[in-house]
Structures are given as structure tokens and as C-alpha cells.
């Protein structure tokens, strides 16, 4: 319960339910669609509650400008971008400092999973467009981009799953919404390669004791495993769909 602007905003009610009716450890529904932007080598659309994100992957492709190319691996580039209308107050389409930082941490969350050594002198470009923002946009971006990378046929060590942990009214909660981020005490975005057990994104914005942090990481790890299953399911469905299309195409 936080007292802001003389209004008390209750984030966990007496029944232990959150503003949108979820339990603390409950995720919002996630929809993952694979391959809807035809120009991209891989793409995905993720809807997590009202957070809506397109991700596209171009590459491996020739690097421009060329001097950025590396002789022993592909470079990974990432651009996290919000449409001006995706937030409450219109934002300028020029990249903000926040978008620049998030582009970096998303890149660093994804790169450990990509077998970059297979593509010297190339670039793998990840573009994320936030269409509507309602919290956890960087995590949803990682979920979408990871699926887009896999659907582009880029060899990966693992998928990267991501979710955020918050602390609101002194309770740790899973999958933070905009209002919980704004009026809550803590935001902890988290990403990992579930199969390899490696954390690839970890940020904390808010005060925690180390024991609480440990608990938060456990919650996040569990949630990432669930998301991981959804990512794999979405990819499989796409392949089934593709195979069906190929077979039907063969009929005509």
C-alpha cells in the first residue's frame, strides 16, 4: 500500500489479489505468434496482457558499416523501440536514453544463446517494436526476440525466457504491470536460458535484502520455465503450419 499524491493506491487487496485480480505468483496470459512479418528472416508477436510487441530478426547478413564486422563471430545488434502511441503520454519517436539502455541489456540477454561463432563477418539484427506498453516490456521483448531468432533458423544454444518480479505492498509478485511498476517498491527484470540454467538478464530497481532477492530469483526461474514451454509450443505450431502449407501446396 503506497501513499502517492494523497491517494492510497492498493496494489494487493485483503484477499491477496492484485489490481487485475491475479495472485502474486500468477502470470498474465501470453499469446505468441510466430512469423508474421514477411520481410524479416524471423519474427514474432507477443501479447502479454496489454503489453504488445513485434520482434523481427534480419540475418545473419552482411554488416553495414563494414568496419564493424568481426573475423571470428557475428555481431548481434538490437533496437528496442516504442511507438509514440504505446505509452500514456505520447513519446517522441527518437530513441530515448531508456530505449538505448534497454536495447543494450536485451542484446546482452539474447547473445549468450546465439551460436555467433558460426557466422563470422556477419550481423544478426534484432528489432523490437513496442506497440502497447503495460509493464514488463523488456521481458516480453526478449521472449518475442528469442522466438524470432529461432524461427529465423539461427542456431541457438537455448531459447531465452524472461519475466519480471516486483514487490508491491511488501509482497513479491510475478509479471509486473505498468501500475505495479509505477507505485510498487521493486522492479526486477529477469531472463535466463532455462535448459542451461544461466541468467542472461538481471536488473534490480528497488531495495531488497539478499534473502528476498534469492526468493525473487527462484520465482522468476520457475516462471521462465513455463514461458519456455509456451515459446517452444509456438515454434512447433508454426512448423506444423508450415509443413501443412507445404504439403497442401504440393497437392495443387
Amino acid at each position: 500500500m503506497l501513499n502517492t499524491k494523497n491517494k492510497k493506491i492498493v496494489l494487493i487487496d485483503s484477499d491477496g489479489r492484485r489490481v487485475d485480480g491475479r495472485r502474486p505468483d500468477e502470470m498474465r496470459d501470453i499469446k505468441i505468434k510466430v512469423g508474421i512479418l514477411e520481410n524479416a528472416d524471423g519474427s514474432a508477436y507477443v501479447e502479454q496482457g496489454n503489453t504488445k510487441i513485434y520482434a523481427a530478426v534480419y540475418g545473419p547478413r552482411e554488416v553495414h558499416p563494414r568496419h564493424l564486422a568481426l573475423p571470428d563471430r557475428a555481431i548481434v545488434r538490437c533496437r528496442y523501440h516504442m511507438t509514440p502511441f504505446s505509452v500514456e503520454e505520447r513519446k517522441s519517436p527518437a530513441p530515448t536514453r531508456r530505449e538505448i539502455e534497454l536495447s543494450k541489456v536485451i542484446r546482452e540477454a539474447l547473445t549468450p544463446a546465439i551460436v555467433v561463432e558460426q557466422f563470422p563477418f556477419s550481423s544478426i539484427d534484432v528489432f523490437v517494436e513496442v506497440i502497447n506498453a503495460d509493464g514488463s516490456t523488456r521481458c516480453a521483448s526478449i521472449v518475442a526476440a528469442s522466438v524470432a531468432l529461432a524461427s529465423a533458423g539461427i542456431p541457438m544454444r537455448d531459447l531465452v525466457a524472461a519475466c519480471s518480479i516486483g514487490k508491491v505492498d511488501s509482497v513479491l509478485v510475478l509479471d509486473v504491470t505498468d501500475i505495479e511498476d509505477k507505485y510498487g517498491e521493486v522492479d526486477l527484470p529477469f531472463a535466463m536460458m532455462p535448459n542451461r540454467g544461466e541468467i542472461t538478464l538481471l536488473q534490480l530497481d528497488g531495495v531488497l535484502r539478499l534473502e528476498e532477492l534469492e526468493k525473487a530469483i527462484s520465482m522468476a526461474t520457475k516462471a521462465c520455465k513455463e514461458i519456455y514451454e509456451k515459446q517452444k509450443k509456438a515454434l512447433k505450431e508454426k512448423y506444423v503450419e508450415l509443413r501443412k502449407a507445404i504439403i497442401e501446396g504440393g497437392k495443387t
Partner: protein
């Protein structure tokens, strides 16, 4: 060099009346319009023309009117050709193509008087609604112009903006809970005709755009034309020009019908 070969092949096909994707010269690609998917926007629309996908969102804010139109709201149209949409788009501020597109769409909205900007005045000379129409390309397979124009129009048609009032102290009060539609007067429709060799074809896809000589984009409202933009580094005879416009006029009627059905306007 490759475009030249491609162009020759396309001309061969076109001389037999065939387009790369099998359409007739005056066929639009399938149109999909999905409105209101962006909760944080006052209005929004994702529009597909074939594989071309653009999204438009409308946001409002309160601002001061221009000195020469103290009693009119302000309309701002911006377009971004994002690298997500095409391997040929680069990050950075809008280039000449994105700027031209935004300005052509802006002129279409403005000259058709689609929105009654006078009704967006809150306190003459002091406070008016600013309407921000932002257009983002998501997948570019040709004719971003018509796709974007349609997205902008659909986003505006489905926008709901908060009510603003002036209290007794002369302060502007915004009531975010009470929302109303924008004051819509008409629906402008934008159609682009491309010329390849001596053929005129509607709604060019990317392969066609790359080899086309010239484009004529026109916006229609009530069967009248309210903006024209000739694009491309070749010329058109007067006869061709008028033919383009007549074709565009017909297609605008057709597309208008689709829009009205989908949006449920009128």
C-alpha cells in the same frame, strides 16, 4: 543492373496483362483493417494491403493554437519507416520518403477536412486539442503510401478522446473518463497508381515499385480529388495523368465501401 532484367521480365508479363502476384492491373491486394488494438492510444489501426503492414496511432494533448488559426485544433502527422519493416530501412530520423509520405497524408486529411478542427478548439487563442497521428511501417511489401493513409484514417475514425472544458477560472479541465468520438466530416481515401512501361497499375507491390517509372498518388473525398503527388524520376503525359486519376477515383470508391463496412461508419 538486376532491376533492368527484372523490369524487362515484368514488362513482358504485363504486356500479357499479368502481374507478378497474378492480379489484374486495377486490382487492390486483400485489405485487412484491425482497429483499437493499442490500449494506450486514443485510436489505432493496423492495416494490411497484401503483405504490407502499417500501424497508426492517435494521441491527443492540449496545446496552444497557431497564431493564424486561433480557433482550430492542431493536426500533426508523422511517419517512421522502421528497420523492422524492411532490410532497406535504416534507423534514424525519417528520410525524404517517410517525410513525403507523412506530408501527403497530412494534406489529404487536412484538405478533405475529415476532422472538423474547429470543434477541437477548447479556448480560442489559448488552448486546443493537438491530434498526433503516428504511422509506423511494420512490413514493407510496396505501397506503404496507401496502407499508411488507410491506417491513419481508420485510427482517426475509431478514436475516442477525453472531454475538455473550461472552468469558471478559465482553466482547462480534462475529464479522462468521459470520452467522445472525433468530429468526423468525411472519409478521404488515398490511391496510388504506378506506371511501368506504358501500363498503369493500382496498388503496386514491392517488386513492381522497384521497376516502376513513376507513381501518381491521389486522395479522394466525395469523388473529388484533394491531394495529388506525382512521384518518381520520370514524366507522364497529360493523357496518362488523367487516366491515372480516373482509375484512382474508381478504386477510391471501392476502398471507401470496404472501410465503411469494416469500421461501421455512416
Amino acid at each position: 543492373m538486376i532491376p533492368k532484367i527484372k523490369r524487362r521480365q515484368m514488362l513482358d508479363m504485363l504486356s500479357s496483362g499479368l502481374r507478378v502476384d497474378g492480379r489484374g492491373l486495377e486490382d487492390l491486394r486483400p485489405v485487412e483493417i484491425k482497429c483499437r488494438s493499442v490500449n494506450n492510444a486514443e485510436g489505432s489501426a493496423e492495416v494490411r494491403l497484401g503483405k504490407t503492414l502499417a500501424i497508426a496511432g492517435v494521441k491527443t494533448s492540449i496545446g496552444t493554437p497557431f497564431a493564424d488559426t486561433p480557433d482550430m485544433g492542431v493536426l500533426i502527422v508523422n511517419a517512421e519507416f522502421l528497420p523492422i519493416a524492411s532490410p532497406s530501412f535504416e534507423p534514424g530520423p525519417p528520410d525524404e520518403n517517410a517525410i513525403e509520405l507523412a506530408r501527403v497524408i497530412d494534406r489529404g486529411l487536412r484538405r478533405s477536412e475529415m476532422i472538423d478542427l474547429r470543434q477541437l478548439c477548447i479556448l480560442p487563442g489559448k488552448a486546443v486539442w493537438e491530434l498526433w497521428v503516428d504511422i509506423h511501417a511494420l512490413n514493407h511489401d510496396g505501397n506503404l503510401m496507401d496502407t499508411s493513409a488507410l491506417a491513419a484514417v481508420a485510427a482517426l475514425l475509431t478514436s475516442e478522446v477525453p472531454k475538455a472544458m473550461v472552468n469558471e477560472k478559465g482553466e482547462v479541465i480534462v475529464n479522462k473518463n468521459e470520452k467522445q468520438k472525433l468530429p468526423i466530416k468525411c472519409i478521404p481515401i488515398t490511391i496510388t497508381v504506378a506506371k511501368i512501361g506504358d501500363k498503369l497499375l493500382v496498388d503496386p507491390c514491392l517488386d513492381e515499385e522497384e521497376v516502376a517509372d513513376v507513381f501518381l498518388t491521389a486522395t479522394f473525398v466525395d469523388d473529388k480529388v484533394c491531394t495529388i503527388q506525382k512521384r518518381g524520376e520520370k514524366g507522364l503525359t497529360e493523357e496518362e495523368t488523367l487516366k491515372c486519376l480516373r482509375v484512382a477515383q474508381r478504386k477510391a470508391r471501392e476502398l471507401l465501401k470496404i472501410v465503411k463496412e469494416v469500421i461501421g461508419y455512416g
